[in-house]
Symmetry: C2
Subunit: 215 residues, 2 copies
Amino acid sequence: MSRIAVLLYPEMTALDAIGPYETLALLPGSEVKLVARDPGPISTDNGPLELIAAEPLSAVPDPDVVVVPGGAGTRAEMERSETIDWLRGAHQGTTWTTSVCTGALLLGAAGILEGLEATTHWMFRDWLPRFGATPVPDRVVESGKVITAAGVSSGIDMALLLVERLAGPQVSQAIQLGIEYDPQPPHDAGSPEKAPTEVVEGVRSLMAESARVPG
Amino acid sequence: MSRIAVLLYPEMTALDAIGPYETLALLPGSEVKLVARDPGPISTDNGPLELIAAEPLSAVPDPDVVVVPGGAGTRAEMERSETIDWLRGAHQGTTWTTSVCTGALLLGAAGILEGLEATTHWMFRDWLPRFGATPVPDRVVESGKVITAAGVSSGIDMALLLVERLAGPQVSQAIQLGIEYDPQPPHDAGSPEKAPTEVVEGVRSLMAESARVPG
């Protein structure tokens, strides 16, 4: 039985959490819980969607796996000692501690990335050294028992790797097939190395202006 | 302004809706609403997650874009005339009517797929002819103003195509980069044509036994 805790917090990015959630919930023998400082409806950072967190942090002090999403609310959450203390404590006993997107900054604030290689959303890679981490521009970075993933949608790839570590390649393939993850985006523009320069610069300015920058 | 309605209903698959939601919410000038027969917390089919639908169907009678997710609750929802009537009515005035996974069966029940090419989750392709549709084993199928997508995760690919139709390729690329959709699953096993035969057969038996089969 893998007891998996997905952290929710205000102004998070929904897909950061739901990609891994949907993947990990299909793992045979897993029990996924959605935890938050304040259980109940949790706002997200891109519109009207709210997710419900069923459990307080205190109800899940020792999960086997932690998944931390990112989002515009990351900066505020980094200052919430209840969340950071829970993360630090949970990490002591986890088999795997993971993040998606700027969720890595919460791991960093909890001291979890000290001395590790890590990734995050491409716009925030240069935040990682302040937590003692070495940024790696990969989609999924495994460093000891910590797995960090790049921006938003990368949580699906991260979770499939995590399933492989927990249950082997056949189970990972079966879940991939179950969620029909055979990606065929209309363009090959999903990373700053691949997108046209003017698109990269456009997104950089837009995000720097918006509340999505947790800095 | 694109007024986008994402339909939620009990025992839906969360990622079917949240992939397109996250993508479309980033479209400049879009207004995304989450609608349901019964607004409030909506259960999902893989675990404890609930999403909140803020609006009743009657509040959004004439959206420009409709997104219909699938899930284990599809069979029950096909019998709910309030939902099917709303879909049929909304479709009259949409610019685009779309589905993800077995959401296509709801479009079918509303008569929307009659005479069209369409796709759905790979396990349910043979359901499409009963709605007058021709199954196409592609990830995203555009037929007139109806776009259907394959299983669960394909909603992200579908939404990026939809953004391209609504706002052009640069905006689609910018959103793809914003959500860092540069997929790198650990295996190439996301479709029945690509996964190892024993994995396909395993998933087929598991899903046939479970409540995930809407038949």
